[in-house]
Amino acid sequence: MKLTPGLRLKSAVCDTEVVIVRPPKEPVTLECGGAPMGGEAGGAVSSDHAGGTLLGKRYEHAPAGLEVLCVKPGAGSLSVGGVELTLKGAKQLPSSD
């Protein structure tokens, strides 16, 4: 599946939903709870990928250039090729609004 900006993906094994913010430079498979996202629902969260996702947080896989935003939290954690995505910090405030 091609990961394009704005694409919304559901986890196959938990409640997690993400939106692609920055697409990867090369095609990759995004997993949640150890299972490819966007696939047919079923199965359980792998114990190796059970860290969970947080609503409104952004996660990135720097080597692939991939960044996603969690729009629905769940029990599984996000990974690409088994490597967990890292959580990005809170948005800095603007200097004026």
């Binding site: 704005g6 729009v71 809170a90 800095q92 405030l93 200097s95 004026s96 609004d97």
Partner: protein, 378 residues
């Protein structure tokens, strides 16, 4: 009979400084409603409460226009004075889009489902082909400060968005209840201010001026963004306050500070505070005489984010040019309106001995100003 009314308004509008901040760069645009009367009414109410504390606050129009003066900002039509917010035409109405933070710019391709080099070009092109409702829903999902303008492009066409969640919910307090006014003889109320930017700090500033001890609390990793703006503005708002930085990742110190306060000012979504282990209801059950001032973009039960310009637009606090296009009124004007509204509620609550939540939303406070009486026409 109507003529002098309009001329009087035109003159007041020009003198207030709002004329310089409302309309296209080359042409001022006058609003159809007397927003200025509402701004004056609001400052007047805060002024009166200040007198109950024995302080003449001397509020003039600089409370609304002072930041623009410091920054040298002027009107830019459909772009906000500070440049980050724009009024954008959708397929069925108008939106205010505020790309206030670098992350908001990053999110544009995800919002519109298209790649593009120039975010504003992409927004202008795509929004035309989409409905306001769809654009708002996707922006809310992504946490972007985007709001619908509560007017359809042509009168009678389309439907205004539901503003019921944005109504003004400041507790209505009777300031005539207590006779022993002011803070003299009593302990100085302690205010813990967790807020940032303009609205919350303005409330903290006014509470400092009536004699409260105000402690400004900032996260060690995420200081008040206004620190990176003009120093004079930040210093004016925080003059006479104490500063504390707290690691929000280990929030015990934050909790202790909050529990020691008579007044808490915060500008966070309830979810964000709960993630730090701070729950308003729980804190107030431990400290029933506390005054909790909550400042949000669109209300405590609305998770959408927002800043001063997009919140003002969401409230309809705009002017319309001769071609029927909306333009911004003032500089992030929902911020000082909300700050004064919050201060009014906090001061009234202090006079009553506390125990209130002052629930102020930027768009709700601005909606009261936007709802000003129409100016009699020529």
């Amino acid at each position: 009979m109507n003529r002098p009314v309009f001329m009087d308004f035109e003159r007041r509008w020009a003198i207030s400084g709002l004329e310089d901040l409302t309309g296209h760069a080359g042409e001022a645009v006058l609003p159809k409603r007397d927003f200025l009367a509402r701004l004056d009414e609001l400052s007047g109410r805060v002024e009166e409460l200040g007198e109950r504390f024995g302080v003449a606050l001397g509020l003039d129009h600089s409370v609304f226009m002072g930041r623009a003066a410091i920054l040298g900002l002027t009107r830019r039509g459909q772009t906000s004075c500070n440049g980050t917010c724009r009024l954008i035409e959708s397929g069925d109405g108008w939106l205010a889009v505020n790309l206030a933070r670098p992350e908001d710019v990053d999110l544009v391709p995800a919002w519109l489902c298209r790649k593009g080099d120039d975010p504003w070009k992409a927004i202008g092109k795509t929004a035309r082909r989409c409905s306001t409702a769809d654009l708002i829903e996707r922006a809310a999902m992504l946490g972007m400060p985007v709001a619908a303008i509560p007017f359809s492009r042509h009168p009678g066409e389309g439907r205004d968005p539901d503003l019921s969640s944005q109504t003004r919910r400041l507790s209505r307090l009777d300031p005539g209840l207590r006779q022993d006014d002011g803070l003299e003889g009593g302990r100085r109320p302690v205010v813990v201010d967790l807020s940032s930017l303009w609205a919350g700090p303005l409330c903290g500033h006014l509470l400092t001026r009536i004699g409260c001890r105000v402690i400004k609390v900032e996260s060690t990793t995420r200081p008040d963004g206004a620190r990176f703006g003009p120093a004079t503005f930040f210093e004016e708002l925080h003059n006479g306050q104490e500063f504390v930085t707290v690691d929000f990742a280990t929030p015990d110190r934050l909790r202790d500070l909050i529990l020691s306060a008579d007044v808490v000012i915060e500008g966070s979504r309830p979810r964000a505070l709960r993630q730090l282990g701070i729950d308003r209801d729980e804190v107030m059950s431990q400290r029933p005489s506390m005054t909790w001032v909550s400042i949000t973009a669109h209300g405590r039960d609305d998770a959408r984010v927002g800043f001063g310009d997009d919140a003002a637009a969401a409230a309809g606090l705009l002017a319309w040019d001769r071609a029927g296009r909306p333009v911004f009124v003032g500089d992030a004007i929902a911020d000082p309106i909300a700050g004064l509204t919050a201060a009014e509620g906090a001061m009234a609550s202090l006079l009553e001995g506390g125990g209130h939540t002052i629930d102020v939303s930027l768009s709700g406070a601005a909606a009261w100003v936007a709802d000003a009486p129409e100016i009699a026409s020529w």
